[in-house]
Structures are given as C-alpha cells and as structure tokens.
Amino acid sequence: MKSGKDILIAIHKKWLLMFLLEILLFGLGPAVLAYALTKSLLITAITFAVIVLLLSLFLKPWNYSLRHVSDYLDSKLPHLEYSTFLLIQENEELSQLAKLQRVRVRKELEKALRHLKPERNMRFAIILAFVLVLGAWVIHHFDLVDHTKISDHFDAGQEVIFSPVDTTVSQKAQPSLKNQSIKIQYPSYTNQAVKTTADMNIKELQGAIITWSLEFDQIISKVILQSMGEDHDMRYENGAYSFTLKLTEAGFYNFNIIDSQGRNYFSELYSLEVVKDQNPTLEVSGLPQFTSFEVNENKELSFEVLVTDDYGIQTAVIIATVSKGSGESVKFREEKLGFDNAIPQRSRKLVLKKKIDLDKMEMTPGDELYFYVEVADVKRPDPNVTRGETYFAQIRDTVSDVFEVEGSMGVDQMPDYFRSQRQLIIDTEKLIKEKPTLSKKEFNSKSNELAFDQKALRIKYGEFMGDESTLDTEVSQEAHEEGEENVLDGYEHAHDSENESNLVEDDHEDDHDEDHGEEHEEGEDEDPLHDYAHNHDDPEEATLYTKSLKAQLRMALNEMWDAELHLRLYHPEQSLPIQYRILERLQEIKNSARIYVHRIGFDPPPIKEDKRLTGDLEEVYSFKKTADVENKEVYPNIRKSAERLEVLIQNPVLISERDKSLFEAAGNEMAGLAVEQPGKFLDVLQGLKNLGQGYELSLEEMLEIQHGLLLALPTISPTPDQKSSRLGELNELFINELKTND
C-alpha cells in the first residue's frame, strides 16, 4: 500500500510534468507558425526558446514543490481538512492525533484522487498550439504569405528608383515603391525552397519561375515590365503589381510606370542572368587507360568513380562494349553495367565502385573490352549527361597469327598471297635478267629458292581448298634439303612423272587428283559416297567458295605445281608464263570477291544500254538556281544609331519619336552583347535605353554611347565597290579621239 506521501509525490510528479508540457506547448504553436511564415529554422528555434524561457521565468516551474501541491489540495478539497501537509511530514514528528489525522487524510486523498483535477489546465495550451499549427499549415499549404512582407526592409541600394521622362515633375509627386520583391521558385527537381529577394538583378537557375511584385505609395495606372524588346503588363492584385516569368534566357529588364496623370517613369536596367544546371563531373581513379591480361591471369578490373553534380545525380552506368574477332569479322556486343553500390537519391557527391570480371563478361583471348562511365543528373525534362573517358581492357591472344577462315569472307587475308605471287614473278624476271652475270651454281640455287617460295604459296592456298597443311614439315624438310649439295634429287624424283606430263598444259586436274588421291586415300575408302553426297561437314565443300571460284583456285594450285617444277629444273623462263597465268587466275578470284563485297554496299542503277553514249540530251534540262545570299548587315540599328548620334552630338536637337524607336531597336541588338560582356556594354545599353525613352543626355554621355556602339561593331571585310566618274565634255572628247585613232 502506498503511503500518503507517495500518493502526494506521484501527484506532484504528474502535475509538474503537465506544467512543463504546457509551457512547451505554448512555445510550440508560435514556433511552427513562425516557421510557416519565415521558412527560417533559426527564427523558429529562437521563437520557441524565447517563449519557453519567458514562460518559465514567469511561471517558475522550479518553484512547483510538493508543499505547493499539498496546499493546493487542501484548498481544493475540503474533505482533507487542511491536513494534507501531514502526509509530507515525518512520522516521528507527529503527535498521536496528527497521526490519526494523517491516516484519515490519506484515505480521503485516495478517495478524492479519482476526481482530482490537475491544478493547471492544459486545455488552453493545447487549443492554442493546435490553432497555431493549423494556421501554419494553412499558410504553408496555400502559400498565403509573401515572404517579402516579413523582410519588408529592402536595402536602399536595391530600391528601384523611377525617374520621370518629363523632368518638370516635382520630386514629391513621383511615385515611389513601398515594397518590392522577387519570388523565385526553383524547378521541382532541385528540391530547393522558394526564395525571396529584393535585389532586382537576378542570377538564377535556368527554368526558375520569377515573380516580381511591386507595391507603390500612390495610385498607378499601369506598370509595364520591359524586357528584351517586349512589354509585359504587370497584373494588379492585392495592392501590388506582379508578373511571372519563366527564366529561360539571359537578358535585361526594366520597369516603366505610368502614374494616374499619365506621366511616364522609367527604372534603371536590371540584369536577368541564367545559371545553367551544370553537367555532372566524373573522375575515374585506380584504372589505367589500357589494361591487358594474360589468359591465365585473374582478369579483374576494379576502379572508383567520383561523381559530383550541383543538384544531384540520378543515374550512373558503365557502358561496356566487347569486341570479338578482328578485321571484317569483328563483332560487337554492348552491355550496360551498374555500379556495385547503389546510388542514393539526389546525392551531390558520390564515390562509386565497380569490379569488372572479364571472365564473367564471357570474354575469350583476343577479345577487347571498351567501356566508359555515363552519369546523368536529376534535371528534368532533359537531364545533363556526362560521358567519361573510354578505357580499354584486352585479353592477350596467344595465337593471333594463325590464318583463320572466318565466316564467309574467306578472301579476307588473300592480298598477302597475291602479292607474293606477284613478287615471285618479279623475282623470277629478275633472275632471268641476271642469268648472264650469275654463276651456274648461284643461278640454280636462286631458282631453287624461288621454287621453294612457289611451293610455300601453293601450300598456303591449299589450305583454302581444305588441303592438309604440310607446310611446317615440308618447310623444315626443304630447309634441310637446301642445305645439301644436290638439291634436286629428292624433289625431281618425286614429281618426275608429273612434270613430264605437265609440260603440256593440260590435265592438271588429273595430275592433282592423282597427287592428292594418295593423300586422301584412307578417308575416301571409308566413305565411298563422298563423291556423290553433299557433305556439309567439310567446310570447304559447303560454303567457302562458289563452285567456279573453287575450280579456279584448284586450277591455280595445279599450275603452281608446274611453275614450281620448272623452277626446280632451273628453267625460270618456262616457269614465268605459268606464273603469269597463276597471277591472272588469282586476280580473277580476288576480283570476284571484290564484286561480292561491292554488292553489299552499292547497287548501281541499271544502265539502259540503248541510251548509253548516244548523246541524247532530250531529258537533260538546263536548270536554274536562285538565292538571296546577301549577308544581312550585322546590327543595322547600331550602325544607324551611331550615325544619328553623330548628328545629335554635332548639332543638339530634341530626340524625335523616330530616334527613340531607333535607339530602342539598337538597345535590343545591344542587349545580346551586353549579356556576354556586361562590363563593356552594359552602360551603353543603359544609355541607349535612356535615349530610347527620350531623356536628354549630356554630350559626354552621348559620346560614350557612340563609342560603345562603335566598339560593338565587327570589322568589315573587304568587298568590291563601284567607282564613280563623270563623263564631262572633255572626257567624251578624249574618248572619241582615242576611238578614232584606234
């Protein structure tokens, strides 16, 4: 059972808590409201702290003691018979009677506890806080407050001053501004709060929505915002003139107001500067531009990318391209790779990591990987995209020099061999030419070398035809043979009979068949249908060459045998015509391949043979071309203004309406320049505006404007002109005299 004191302490604790809560509630409402009005956390915090502090000082919650609670209970509950304090006191201090009373009071207190209302009523605080928070929400939601009203004071330097066109207007009668403000709403993707300023020179993000609001101290009939040659009437609403514009391009603007008496006033020029959303930047670290791996290495690339952007990064991907094969048979595969770590929303600075495993990219030796990083920012609707540098990675190919027949382009590497046939012919001719100067041994040796080359060539071509490559073994054997004294024996013997028959240029096929018949005997034995069936297993048979090409190449190969033979026999003269024939055949094969390539790219229109070379021009017409290419004079109004100003400088007169519109037009031409070089041309632009509005300027000012105008003009490139002359009597006489003596 709780003692009376415990009960009392519990009540005290509870009430003290409520008391503190009440103070906080009082502070909360105004603080939220202050935030809604000012959007400033600082002001909110200060408001809160000040109210809580003041209330605390006033209410002094630290004085809220147990004694106070007992007193309060005594005063509120008569049943307690003003004896609550007994509960607090120590047992020993109390008399017998008091003890009895304490027990009684405790009981009474326990009874009263259920109906007991706290001393301080929180209802007011809650309602107030609720009302204020609701109010704040309404203000925020409906955007009721123009924030300038809070920052009502604008610097004297920022104040828009209007000067009258008519200088007779007294200073007092001039309208002046009570309030000026510009509200800037950033594009939603920037996630930036609405900004309010009194500075009329605007430098904001492209796409921001600018709302001007001007409040005057007197009635104004019209307010016009003039910008880049366009006039925008400002809307009158709630005592202020406002106008909204989406910031797309840089320029200048000024206000023109017409007061109730129809007098015109102009403000100074203010700049509208556009800040473009910057492209994201990226920096790849830990990766050389070119990486190359051995086949058995761990083929992993790992790198970090530092990405920054002014308003946040949306996406970052790696665009990777894998190339397989080489030459015409190259194939590309493109892949988009993500980074290992996720991209948080709208982060402005990111370090992204990536590990690329080339094996996982299904790359084989000889393949190459190109990749670059592409980052897009949050800009809407067209995000800014930045592409990084391209990096390369390659798996080294160990066997890259082997001849491959890839796809349909069997002739891919043929030019090398053609060249070597041509080279053979050249060498043979050279040998024939040098014959008288060479010793017999030398001559024979050279002829034999040529024969060897011819053989190597034949074997290479043999590969095309599916002949077994015996190059390696034969070459080594040959090399061995060459080292011996009698080079001829072995070879002569092997082909002796063939050579005999091939002196006549027929029957190459037979010879060859004979020759190869032996080599392929086994295979053919196993498959007696070979000659009759269409064997797709044999790549040469199936797709490589069309029949005629194949036959031609076979014939060329056969002739190579002959050519080789004659060389071996030291009769290069006899070999030469055969070599020429070989070259011709190879040329034909090459050309047929060329035509094939041609067909892919270009389909020439059919030539009407009957029209060809007839010289018929019936359907050929003369034709006409008309063009207006005169390069339009740059800045025509600036030119004219410079000329007109010269007149005004020489001979000051009043500026006419025509002058005004001329200067205004020149001002519009100038505005573009002023945006680029405000330091140089802004004053000139202001001057032109003043002239355009009919202000009287001093001579110095006009000279300055003219100077600026001339600075703006580009130099003129030389062009022809028509000279002039007068045909006076004397000239006519002279010309006639010349004519008669001609």
Binding site: G615, L617, V620, Y621, S622, F623, K624, K625, T626, A627, D628, V629, E630, N631, R639, A642, E643, L645, E646, V647, Q650, N651, L703, E704, I705, Q706, H707, G708, L709, L710, L711, L713, T715, I716, S717, P718, T719, P720, D721, Q722, K723, S724, S725, R726, L727, G728, E729, L730, I735, L738, K739
Partner: protein, 581 residues
C-alpha cells in the same frame, strides 16, 4: 619724252588746238604788213608762244616722272617688334600698316612700292592687294604643332583610311592620337624628332554618315593639349551587277560567285553543263528566266566575267556585242585566263604576255603567301592599267576601250587562298580587281573643294561640273551662290561662299536635289599651325614673284600752269613793247 606727256583735259584737246591755231592765224593776218621782215617773223613766233602757252594752260598737261621710292610695312599677326623697329631705323619714314584679315589696303599702298610683310603674312584672299608691288616677306618661324595634313575627306564604308601629315617640334614629349567618332582612339604616335616629323595614322571606317574625327595632342602625362577636327563624309558601298559566263563549272567561279554574292552584289552565273544546256544562277537578283548574252543583258551589267573557253567559242556577233557594251556603255570585261589565252588570244581582247618560269607569285603586301599563277606576266604597255603588280611583273591589268575596260589576271586558282584560310587576302585581291574593272557609276555632278580646311566666315571656293545648262547652287542657309563659268570648259563652274555656321554645311544643286555637297566648317582656332604655314607659304610665293622686275614707280605730275603763264607774259610783253621801240 613726248610720249610721257598727257593732258588733264584730254577731251578738250582738239577744240583747244583748233581755236589756238585760228587765233594764231588771226594774229598773223593782223600783223601782216606786206613784207616778211625779221620783225614780222619775231612777232609771229612771239604770238605762237603766247597762244601755245594759253592753250597749255587750258589743256593742263601732265608729265610722267620717276617717283622717289617709298616704303610700307604690313604688320600682320605675330610680327616681331624688333623687326619693325629695325625697319623703321633703316627706312626713315616707312609707313606702318596694321593688318587685319580682310582689310582693304588699296588706298594705303601704292603701285610699285616696296612692301615689307612682317609676321605671318596676309590671308591668301587678301594677297591680290600686293600685286605690282615689290614685296619682302620677312622671316617668320614656322609655328609648332601640326603643319600639314592629308586624308580622304569623302570616303567609303569598310575602307582603310590614312591620315598623313607632318608636325613641327612641340615642347615636351607629346603624343598624337587619332580619335574616331565617340572619342574612340584609333591610332597614335609619339613625337621622336626634334624638328619636323612626318606621321601616318590609320583607321577603318565602320559606319556610314558624316563624322568628325579628331586629331588630339597629349603630353606625356596624358593631358589633352589640343584637338582639331577631321571631317569625314562616309558613304555606303554601291552594289554591282556581275555576270559570270563559264564554259563549264569551275572552282574558281564557285568561290568567286560566293564571295561576290555574299558581299551583297547581284550576281548572275551562266555555266554550260552540256550542249545547249546551262546552269543559271541568280544571286540577290530576281530570276528573269534564261540568261542570254544579248545587248540588253550586256548593257545592263557592270562587269562580265568570262572564261577564255567561252570567249573562244563565242560567235562573232557576240564578241561584237560585248565590244559595243564595253565601248559605249562602259562595261568591264574580265577574262578568266587559261593556257589558250596565252597561245591563241581573241584579237579583240588581247594582251601581250611574256613567259616566265615562276608558277607562283608573292605580293609585298602579303608576305609569305604564295599565290598560284600561270607562267606568264603582262608586258608593260602605256595603255595598260595595272591592278596588281609584284616584283615579278604585272599580274593583273586592264586596258581601256571607250568608256569601258577589259582585263585579265595571270593569277590561277585563287580559291586556294580561301582553302588555306587566307580569306582576307582573297577578298582584298578580288575586291580591288572587281572595283577597278567594273563599270563606273556616272555622276551627274562633280563637286570639288579647292581648300582643304574651310574656316568660318572665310571665303570657300568650290568648283562644280554639271550637265545642267545653268546650274543653280543653293547653300543650306537658303541663299543662292553666284557661279562663274570656266573660260574653256563650259560645264565647269566655280563659286565662293562665306560659311557663317561652324559644323556641317551643304551645297545643293537646285535642279537636282539629290546632288548635295557636304563640307565641314571649322573655327579659326583649329589647325592654326597649318593655316599659318600655308599663309606664310602663300605670302612667300607672292614675295618671290614680286621681288624683281617691277620698274621703279612713276607718277604723272601736272606741269604747273605758272610756267605757261610766265611764257605768255614774256611774249605779250615783247609784243607790247616792240612797237614802242
């Protein structure tokens, strides 16, 4: 002696002589006493003398006598007192005349007298008053500052212009600035000579209109010391109509037509593509159907650019038409040369070439830029007018033919300049060529100002040449300027105005209000050094002319009648006394 006697009453000469003779005859008859004695003869002579003396008194004879030399000194502004005093010492009684511009000296100075001019001298328009006098111009230091100036006052937009001049040493290290309109500095030089220094300042005209440039002198600290106006009347370029005829399309023509049309000229191109098939191109001009080479077309264009191949193929009548257009209408014909041109030229339009090895040329103006050319150059000829010339010879030239001209160039493949990025050189070359070759715009009226600097309230002489029978020139103040016709050339007139307004003035032809002549009037405080130098020069010229050869002055003095009266008295006394003796 007798020749030098004249009579004051010349008009009464004969009546008096007749009356005198009659009187004498009457006297002789009265004295006749029947014999011719010596007394009679003496009497007659005495009578003759008396009558003669009487008639002389009536006739008032005058005799020319050598006059004694008198001296005058004209004290013009800036004279030195020392000079004046020395003169006064040497020539006692010398007449000192204070000169003011426009002062009438005729009453003061006498013909044939010796005049000393001190100071800067008389204004040129007052110098006539010193005619027939012996004039001595005493030395006068040429003032410091700009003493000579020369530039093109009437110019064209886009032209580079030069202000050339000379200045006399000025105290301290000074700089000279050429200021464009709006006070834009265009060029400057620094004084580096202690005597006379020539200078050339350059600029480029960017805009048309009437402008006043300024020549400003500043000291080394940059303070402006003086400023003088340079008036410039800048006009826009005129548009030409150019016809290009080619036997086949070529790169040269392609780039040329692009350049010409981009410059705003009207360009017509006719290039043959096949037999009787042409490609017609119209740039900046309305498409008028086929371009035929008839007289109408040829007379209408200002320049015909034709390749040698077309010219070779041209019919006789076409050549005739072209020649007529050149001679009568002033057409310019430019022939795009090829090898044929040097071997078998068209006789009507032929030039003499000399063969030259070099196939490229470099102009001094464009160093290190090699231009391709045919291996020929023009042979110099008095009839040949040169457009481009290099150290290798004449590169581009034309010949006059009637009102027009025909020409060619040995340059080849000039479009390479554009391909090499030397567009400016290309443009300059062709601009000069086309400008020089094209038909001249015929001016109805030509104005000429005789003085370079026109001062307020000072006479300004101008000349006008006009087709008008009786041109009437109006000043923009509204008054009519009296004109005087030239003695020899009936279309040439001259006049003088005294402009009172500083700044731009204009003269107009009443018959044709488009004929306007703008001139700029300055106040006398400007260009003083030039004015003074010119004045000294003019005065010296007069002094040199009139220094010798003028005979000593003679004057006609009336012979005093007293002497005749005495003669009369003596002869009368004799005649009175003689009978009494």
């Amino acid at each position: 002696m007798i020749e030098s006697i004249t009579f004051g009453r010349m008009h009464l000469f004969w009546p008096i002589i007749v009356v005198s003779i009659l009187l004498w005859i009457l006297f002789v008859w009265k004295e006749w006493a029947g014999n011719m004695g010596p007394r009679f003869l003496i009497k007659i002579v005495a009578g003759l003398i008396a009558v003669g003396a009487l008639s002389m008194i009536a006739l008032q004879p005058k005799m020319e006598i050598d006059e004694e030399n008198t001296f005058s000194a004209i004290l013009s502004p800036g004279y030195k007192i020392v000079q004046r005093d020395s003169l006064a010492k040497v020539h006692k009684g010398i007449q000192m005349i204070d000169y003011m511009p426009g002062k009438d000296l005729s009453g003061i100075l006498k013909k044939g007298q010796e005049v000393f001019v001190l100071g800067q001298g008389l204004q040129p328009y007052d110098l006539w008053q010193l005619e027939d006098m012996k004039v001595h111009m005493l030395s006068y230091q040429i003032p410091e500052g700009i003493t000579k100036i020369k530039y093109q006052q009437h110019d064209i937009v886009g032209n580079n212009f030069e202000v050339q001049g000379e200045f006399q040493y000025m105290e301290g290290k000074q700089q000279l600035f050429l200021m464009g309109p709006g006070g834009t500095p265009l060029d400057s030089i620094e004084q580096n000579s202690t005597e006379r220094q020539r200078f050339t300042l350059k600029g480029k005209h960017l805009v048309e209109g009437k402008y006043v440039y300024a020549l400003v002198t500043k000291d080394s600290a940059g303070h402006q010391l003086s400023s003088a106006s340079l008036s410039l009347d800048i006009r826009a370029k005129r548009k030409l109509q150019i016809l290009i005829v080619n036997q086949f399309p070529s790169f040269e023509t392609k780039y040329l037509k692009n350049f010409l049309s981009a410059s705003g000229h009207e360009v017509l191109v006719r290039s043959q593509v096949s037999e009787d098939r042409f490609k017609y191109e119209y740039f900046n001009v309305k498409d008028n159907g086929k371009i035929t080479l008839d007289s109408k077309t040829l007379n209408g264009v200002d320049l015909l650019i034709i390749d040698q191949a077309s010219l070779q193929k041209a019919s006789k009548s076409l050549l005739q038409r072209v020649q007529e257009a050149i001679v009568k209408e002033g057409l310019g014909l430019f022939i795009q040369a090829d090898a044929d041109m040097y071997q078998s030229p068209i006789s009507k339009f032929r030039f003499d070439f000399s063969k030259q090895e070099a196939k490229s040329v470099e102009f001094d103006k464009y160093p290190e830029i090699e231009l391709s050319k045919h291996p020929f150059v023009f042979i110099r000829d008095p009839l040949l007018e040169v457009i481009h010339e290099s150290s290798q010879g004449i590169i581009t030239a034309y010949q006059r033919s009637g009102r027009g001209r025909f020409g060619s160039t040995v340059l080849d493949r000039t479009y390479e300049l554009i391909l090499n990025g030397k567009t400016n050189v290309y443009q300059e070359l062709w601009s000069k060529l086309v400008t020089d070759m094209s038909k001249r715009a015929v001016l109805e009226t030509i104005w000429k100002q005789n003085e370079f600097l026109i001062y307020q309230n000072a006479p300004f002489d101008f000349t006008i040449e006009s087709k008008e029978e009786n041109p009437i020139v109006i000043h923009d103040d509204g008054y009519r300027v009296p004109l005087m016709r030239d003695m020899d050339i009936s279309q040439r007139w001259s006049g003088t105005v005294f402009p009172s307004e500083i700044g731009w003035n204009k003269l107009m032809l009443k018959q044709d209000s488009t004929e306007i002549f703008n001139f700029y009037v300055i106040d006398t405080s400007q260009w003083t050094s030039i004015g003074v130098k010119e004045r000294i020069h003019e005065n010296r010229k007069v002094a040199n002319q009139n220094a010798y050869g003028i005979s000593t002055a003679k004057s006609l003095n009336p012979i005093r009648p007293w002497w005749f009266f005495l003669l009369f008295l003596v002869s009368m006394t004799y005649l009175w006394i003689e009978p009494k003796l």
